[in-house]
C-alpha cells in the first residue's frame, strides 16, 4: 500500500486549504507522497488525484514533467553531481568518473544494496563552490575525489543520519499557519472588492 497515511492525509488537507484552487496543491502533495514512500507510486498518484479533485492522469501529467519526482524505487541517498559550466570548468566530469568508479555503478543507477543512486545534475546554485554535489538536495562544496569517498563511507556507516534525511524528505520542518492568524484562501471568483487597507478603492 502506498496511498498516503492518515497522518499525511491530514497534512495534505492542511496544505490544500492554503490555495484558492485545489490543484495548486498537486506538486506539494506529490512531494509528500515521495517523502512517505521514497518514490512516487501509482497508488499515491491516484490518492493525490482524489484529494485535489483531478484525474490520476493529470497528476502523472504534471508530476512527470519535473525531475525531482522518481517513479521507481530509488536509493536512500540520491547523489546529484553538477555538470554545468562552472562545475565542469573545475573538474565535475572527473568527479563523476571517480564517483562511478567508487560506487561501481554508472550515473543513473543505484548501488546493488539499494543505498545510493547516482545522477548527473544541472546547476545547483553554488557555482562559486565548484565542483558541487547534493545528497538528497543538501549541498556539498568543492568536492575532491577523497571527499567523495569519505562522504560515501559516512553515508554507509550512518554517520550523517541526523543531517541528511532519507530521499523524498526535503525540508525537515514544515510551514504551519496558525488557525487564529490565517486569512484563509478564497476562490478567486469569489473576491469582488479590493483589499480593505487600500484607502482609495480604484474603480
Amino acid at each position: 500500500m502506498s496511498r498516503l497515511t492518515d497522518a499525511n492525509v491530514a497534512l495534505a488537507r492542511e496544505i490544500i486549504a492554503r490555495y484558492p484552487k485545489k490543484k495548486s496543491a498537486l506538486i506539494p502533495l506529490v512531494h509528500l507522497s515521495q517523502e512517505q514512500n521514497g518514490y512516487v507510486t501509482e497508488d499515491a498518484m491516484r490518492h493525490v488525484a482524489e484529494l485535489v479533485d483531478v484525474t490520476p492522469a493529470e497528476v502523472y501529467g504534471t508530476a512527470s514533467f519535473y525531475e525531482m519526482f522518481r517513479f521507481e524505487p530509488t536509493g536512500k541517498y540520491l547523489i546529484n553531481i553538477c555538470g554545468t559550466m562552472s562545475c565542469a570548468l573545475l573538474g565535475a566530469h572527473e568527479l563523476m568518473h571517480h564517483a562511478e568508479h567508487t560506487l561501481g555503478v554508472k550515473a543513473g543507477s543505484t548501488t546493488p544494496d539499494g543505498l545510493i543512486t547516482l545522477q548527473h545534475a544541472e546547476c545547483q546554485a553554488a557555482c562559486t563552490e565548484a565542483p558541487t554535489l547534493q545528497v538528497n538536495y543538501r549541498h556539498r562544496y568543492r568536492v575532491t575525489a577523497d571527499d567523495f569517498d569519505h562522504l560515501v563511507d559516512d553515508l554507509r556507516s550512518g554517520k550523517l543520519d541526523s543531517e541528511i534525511p532519507p530521499h523524498g524528505t526535503l525540508g525537515r520542518n514544515r510551514q504551519h499557519i496558525p488557525v487564529d492568524r490565517a486569512v484563509g484562501a478564497v476562490h478567486p471568483d469569489d473576491v469582488t472588492s479590493g483589499p480593505v487597507w487600500l484607502e482609495v478603492s480604484p474603480s
Partner: protein, 474 residues
C-alpha cells in the same frame, strides 16, 4: 570539502568595504532567526510602511528605480503599476526558483536572511494591494525551504503575517510553495503554471506581464527574491538613500557570483552601475584575478543565457545599456570565467546541453533546435564533427533567433560588436539560450572549431556492434 568564505554559514560570500543593502546580516551565523532579525533593525521598514498610505509606499519604491534582479532588469515599482484598475484579487508570487547557470545569490538570501525576504513580501503586498503571497522556492534547495518555513512560522507567531497585522487592517497570508525541478519554471508565466499544479510551460504572450492576467487569471506580480529583499532598506531609509548608491540608471547594489577559473570565486554585493568587470575579476576585494600563471580567455557576464565577453570588454560597468550595446546582458548576476586552459567547444557544450535538456517542449524551434544543437556540438567535441556541422549550427540558430545575433567585439579578430537583444521565434528565452553559448564560442574562437572538425564530407560510420568495431564482423 567546504567553503573558504569568512562566514562558513554563507558559503562563497565575501564582504568588503562597500555598502551592504541586502547582505548586512550575513556576518551573523544566526541571521536567519527572528531574534537576530529584531536585534538588527528587522521589520522596522515594514512598521514604517504601515504608517504611510499604500500608494505612498509604492511611490517610494518607484522613485528608487529598483531594477528587477531575476534577469530582465525591469523596474519593480513600474511593474506593480501594470495591474489593471478594479480587478481583484491581486497576488504576489515570489520567484525563488534560482537555476540560471552560474547564478548563486537568491539561495544565500533565503538561507541566511529569510526574514528580510518576508519583510519585503509584506511591504510589496501592502503597497500594491496584493492579498495573498506565494513564496515559490526551487525544489532542490532543502535548506532554504527549512529556513524560510521556520521564519514564516515565527513571523506568523509574532503577528507580522496573517489577519489585522500589527493592529492595522492589513491582512495577508504568505504561503510557502516549492518546486520539483525544472529550469524553465524560472520564467514567470511558467512559474504561475507550476503554481497552478500544471506542467511548467511558459504561457503565450501577450499579455506580456502576468500583472494583467496571472495566477488563476488574476493580476499577479512576480518578483525575484533579491528584488524583494531590497524593499526593507528602501522602506526604512527612503528612496533617496537607495539611489545615493550606484548610478542613476542602475541604483543600489546587486549581488554577483563570480565562478570558474579565478583565484577567489565568490558572491559579492557590488555597487551597481559603476563597478566594472575588471574590478570584479581582478580586484583584491573581489575575485583577485586568474589562477596562478594563467590568463583570461573569456567570460560569461550574466548567466548561462548571456553572450560571452572577452578581455576587450573588461572595462564595461554593471549597467544594462552599456552591457547591451557591447553585445550581451547583465542577466541574473552571474559571471563565469574561463582561463587559457579552457577547451572552448567543450565549455560551450555544457551550456548547450543544459538548455537543450531544460526545454519544456512547447515551442518547436527550442524543442527540436536545442536538441540538434546539443547533438552537433557533442559530436564536434568528440572529434567527429564536419564542415557541414558548423553550417548546420548556424542554420538551426537562425530558426531560433532570426537575423543578427548579438556578440562582443574582438580586436584580435577585427570584429565589431552586435548589440543585444536578439529576435526570437520562441515564447521564452530557453530556446535562444541554447544557441547563445555556441554562437559566442564559434564567433569569438573560430579557430578552436576549425581545428576540431574533420574535413570529410561524410562522417565516419558508427559501428553497429563492438565486434564490428574490432573488425570481426557480426
Amino acid at each position: 570539502m567546504g567553503t573558504q568564505s569568512p562566514y562558513p554559514w554563507a558559503p562563497g560570500f565575501y564582504p568588503g568595504d562597500r555598502p551592504q543593502v541586502v547582505t548586512s546580516r550575513f556576518q551573523y551565523e544566526d541571521a536567519h532567526t527572528i531574534e537576530r532579525y529584531h536585534a538588527t533593525g528587522g521589520y522596522e521598514g515594514f512598521r514604517k510602511a504601515l504608517t504611510m498610505a499604500p500608494a505612498d509606499v509604492a511611490d517610494e519604491v518607484k522613485k528608487s528605480t529598483l531594477l528587477g534582479r531575476g534577469g530582465a532588469g525591469f523596474p519593480a515599482g513600474t511593474k506593480w503599476g501594470f495591474t489593471p484598475q478594479g480587478v481583484w484579487p491581486r497576488y504576489l508570487v515570489v520567484n525563488g526558483d534560482e537555476s540560471e547557470p552560474g547564478t548563486y545569490k537568491d539561495r544565500l538570501l533565503m538561507e541566511c536572511d529569510p526574514h528580510q525576504l518576508i519583510e519585503g513580501c509584506l511591504i510589496a503586498c501592502y503597497a500594491a494591494g496584493l492579498s495573498r503571497c506565494f513564496l515559490y522556492i526551487r525544489g532542490e534547495m532543502a535548506l532554504a525551504q527549512e529556513r524560510v518555513a521556520a521564519a514564516l512560522n515565527d513571523a506568523y507567531a509574532a503577528g507580522y503575517i496573517g489577519t489585522d497585522i500589527l493592529g492595522t487592517n492589513f491582512s495577508v497570508d504568505i504561503v510557502l510553495h516549492w518546486g520539483a525541478g525544472a529550469y524553465v519554471v524560472g520564467e514567470e508565466t511558467a512559474l504561475i503554471e507550476s503554481l497552478e499544479g500544471e506542467r511548467g510551460m511558459p504561457r503565450l504572450k501577450p499579455p506580456y506581464f502576468p500583472a494583467a492576467i496571472g495566477l488563476y487569471g488574476k493580476p499577479t506580480i512576480v518578483n525575484n527574491v533579491e528584488t524583494l529583499s531590497n524593499l526593507p532598506f528602501i522602506a526604512l531609509n527612503g528612496s533617496a538613500a537607495y539611489t545615493a548608491i550606484g548610478t542613476e540608471t542602475s541604483p543600489g547594489t546587486r549581488m554577483i557570483a563570480v565562478s570558474g577559473h579565478v583565484k577567489r570565486p565568490g558572491v559579492y554585493e557590488i555597487v551597481n552601475g559603476s563597478t566594472t568587470f575588471r574590478d570584479l575579476l581582478f580586484g583584491d576585494e573581489f575575485a583577485q584575478g586568474m589562477r596562478e600563471g594563467r590568463e583570461l580567455k573569456c567570460f560569461v557576464p550574466g548567466g548561462g543565457s548571456a553572450p560571452w565577453f572577452l578581455a576587450d570588454q573588461l572595462d564595461i560597468p554593471f549597467e544594462g545599456r552599456a552591457a547591451g550595446s557591447a553585445g550581451s546582458m547583465l542577466g541574473s548576476g552571474a559571471v563565469m570565467v574561463m582561463d587559457d586552459t579552457t577547451d572552448i567547444p567543450a565549455a560551450a557544450l555544457t551550456l548547450v546541453k543544459f538548455y537543450a535538456h531544460e526545454s519544456c517542449g512547447k515551442c518547436v524551434p527550442c524543442r527540436e533546435g536545442g536538441t540538434w544543437l546539443y547533438r552537433i556540438v557533442e559530436r564536434i567535441v568528440a572529434g567527429d564533427g564536419t564542415d557541414a556541422d558548423l553550417e548546420t549550427i548556424l542554420q538551426v540558430g537562425q530558426s531560433i533567433c532570426p537575423g543578427n545575433m548579438p556578440h562582443a567585439s574582438s580586436e584580435r579578430l577585427g570584429l565589431e560588436a552586435v548589440p543585444f537583444p536578439y529576435k526570437m521565434t520562441t515564447i521564452c528565452f530557453v530556446g535562444p539560450s541554447a544557441y547563445v553559448p555556441i554562437h559566442s564560442a564559434m564567433t569569438l574562437f573560430p579557430e578552436e572549431f576549425e581545428s576540431r572538425i574533420t574535413k570529410r564530407e561524410v562522417r565516419r560510420l558508427i559501428p553497429v556492434s563492438a565486434a564490428a568495431a574490432a573488425g570481426g564482423g557480426s
